[in-house]
């Protein structure tokens, strides 16, 4: 076999070629099928845009600067879009954003190895004490959808089930274990909820999505607040009962819900819409059952925050007031030093360019949010961000003029 004749080798090559072609054809057919059955998620959600005129950021930086950022994965597509668009506008400014996770972003900006960080969850007081002078700037926001799969029990995904925070807390604590629990039935009259056990899907990796979801449950349910709390990763009571399943990432949770009849989960709104999952309506503080859309999430953000303090923009927008506010949402934040000279890697030119980029991002940059199904910032937060950006300095020299 080792000393094959030339002819035998050629025959083998022929065989390999046939096999490769067959395999490639099968894979291609699979992808083609996938492409046919899935539709573009950007078409399925209504959007609004912010188009505020840019001020103060029109002058182009003179020398070439390269800015480095790292952090949360949730806003990464938007941030990366911004860096590309901004570079097209100002070719002397190159910004690299590395989506390594909020934890990594916080760590790197605390250790001053990057020029800016990004985090989905607001930093705790203890985390801020570790990084003197660090400030948080909300740059976009996202909502969390409650999703379920009861298709094989005769409830199509287009049926909007109603949930309250207390019922969701009870499901995730394992106190409600069947779909036909009286609490669920009385919320959803007329829906033939089956006598099936609920498979409770949660994120297995730490995430801002989990933070928003548990922040909401903590806000509305005192049991949850006392026993589980809010965090980017919590210890799920349902896991002890063996009815919980952890999925990695939004894709993991969405995939688990799609594949498991009788399951419930929570994902970023974009995933629920893109995958055509069943999306539930959640009761807000005003007592209305609200479905998550860009508009209802933006309503919540605007209603929850009033006129925020630019010195501390850590905002909680879960269970927001307002008739049409969706109650499970969170801001995601850029982390920067208020006096950028605190970061030895940030030169004066970089500081100026970064401040101007952020100014652009909260104004002109917001129009890209809609395309990527992020919720544009409401006006009150844009104003608060403006104040924050105008207070940024480099060795007591203001970076953005009034």
């Amino acid at each position: 076999m080792i000393h094959m004749s030339n002819r035998a080798t050629k025959r083998n090559i022929g065989k390999y070629a046939v096999i490769v072609i067959v395999v490639v054809a099968i894979i291609a057919a699979g992808f083609g099928y996938q492409a046919l059955t899935s539709t573009n998620p950007t078409q399925s959600i209504s959007q609004t845009m912010t188009g505020t005129a840019t001020s103060g950021s029109s002058t182009q930086p003179q020398e070439a600067v390269s800015i480095l950022g790292a952090g949360a994965t949730f806003p990464a597509p938007l941030l990366q879009k911004w860096t590309v668009e901004y570079h097209n506008l100002y070719s002397s400014v190159t910004i690299n954003y590395n989506p390594i996770g909020s934890g990594g972003g916080i760590q790197q900006i605390t250790q001053k190895t990057v020029d800016f960080g990004a985090s989905d969850a607001p930093l705790s007081d203890a985390q801020l004490r570790n990084a003197t002078g660090l400030v948080l700037m909300p740059e976009t926001l996202g909502g969390v959808a409650v999703t379920y799969n009861l298709v094989s029990f005769g409830i199509p995904n287009s049926t909007v089930l109603k949930f309250t925070g207390d019922v969701l807390a009870a499901i995730y604590m394992g106190n409600i274990q069947k779909w036909n629990d009286p609490a669920l039935v009385s919320l959803n009259p007329g829906v033939p909820l089956p006598a099936q056990p609920i498979t409770v899907v949660h994120r297995s990796d730490g995430s801002g999505t989990t933070y928003a979801f548990t922040d909401f449950l903590s806000a509305v349910n005192s049991d949850w607040k006392a026993n589980v709390g809010r965090s980017t990763s919590v210890t799920w009571p349902v896991d002890k009962l063996a009815t919980g399943v952890g999925g990695k990432g939004n894709a993991g949770v969405a995939g688990s819900v799609i594949n498991t009849p009788g399951s419930i989960g929570y994902v970023d709104v974009i995933y629920a819409v893109g995958q055509h999952l069943g999306v539930g309506a959640v009761r807000n503080a005003a007592g209305n059952f609200i479905v998550p859309t860009v508009d209802t999430i933006r309503n919540a953000a605007a209603a929850a925050t009033g006129t925020p303090d630019p010195n501390d923009l850590r905002l909680h927008i879960v269970n927001a007031a307002g008739d049409q506010s969706y109650p499970i949402a969170t801001y995601t934040y850029i982390l920067i030093y208020k006096d950028m000279s605190a970061n030895p890697g940030t030169s004066p030119a970089k500081a100026k360019a970064l401040a101007k980029f952020l100014w652009w991002a909260i104004h002109d940059g917001q129009k890209y949010a809609a395309d990527l199904i992020y919720v544009p910032l409401p006006q009150n937060i844009v104003s608060a961000d403006e104040h924050l950006l105008m207070s940024l300095t480099y060795q007591s020299q203001q970076l953005i003029a009034q």
């Binding site: 076999m1 083998n12 065989k15 390999y16 096999i19 395999v23 994965t73 390594i100 996770g101 909020s102 934890g103 990594g104 916080i106 760590q107 605390t110 930093l123 705790s124 203890a126 985390q127 570790n130 056990p197 498979t199 297995s204 990796d205 730490g206 995430s207 607040k225 006392a226 026993n227 589980v228 709390g229 965090s231 980017t232 990763s233 919590v234 210890t235 799920w236 896991d239 002890k240 063996a242 009815t243 919980g244 399943v245 952890g246 999925g247 990695k248 993991g252 995939g255 688990s256 594949n259 498991t260 399951s263």
Partner: protein, 324 residues
Amino acid sequence: MQATAYARRARARARRRDFFHIFLIVAAFVIPIITVLMLYAIINASVDSIRAFGFKFLISTDWIPNPANGGPPSLGALPAIYGSIVTTVIALLLAVPVSLGVALFQAELAPSVLRAPSRFLVEMLAAVPSVVYGLWGLLFLVPFMRDYVNPQLKSALGFLPLFTGSTNGFGMLTAGVILAVMIIPYGSSIMREVIAAVPRSQREACIALGATSWETIRTSVIPFARTGIIAAIVLAMGRAIGETMAVTMVIGNVARISPSLFLPAETIPSVIANEFTEVAGNGVYLASLFELGLILFAIAFLMNFLGRVLITRLSFKAGRDIHV
């Protein structure tokens, strides 16, 4: 004149030889040094956790990184260690017989027309990225296990605690199956090579005595190749215990020890992969993930060591068998 040119060439040869020696020495030392440095870095990073939890880390089943009352985390590695070992054992139980069968078929029995395609197809399994296995597992294997395999096992073997409880498809058995598929090419290709290396004379002697092909394989091929087969199993085991992405997507990721193979669990790599990205500003929590890595290092080392002991013993035995 001629002599000096000769001497110059000799010196040049000596220099080349010296250079080659230095290169070999550097190459031989770099990898062990990297291993030692890695071990040092991991130990260094896990000191906080070792101090905080001590031996309790190995036997505790708690996994509360962010307690609701804001208190210190309470972390234990036992569920992850248990999950890692159980899934690896399942994977080996399924993969070793299949790998051996594949290797024997390819090396001994297959008609020459089938050999190359069969090798190509099996080895292609090794080239599939693990995230693709994970997606396949999530979208196909999980529902398949839930709807067909698990109910069958439950009705046939439900009296065993291994096959009890509700089944939603996510769990140790599914993870073990996907791992088995992933390690088969590693096991089978090494086994095939060692089987092919068994001297012809062994087989010919057996056949001359009137043995069937099965008897030849059993009495002369496998005993001769067994150290290589063990080495293949050790390598496959290392691959299985360290696999992260595919397992994470199908195991259910729950910090829980249960006898039932149907129920969700977690493995050491899956915990690290899940939690590493969002750990921040919490010394003990981060350190505990490094300590998990250290434990995995230790388990892998132990398994390798046991494999080596087994190989040494068997090769002595094989030596006796052959030279008697």
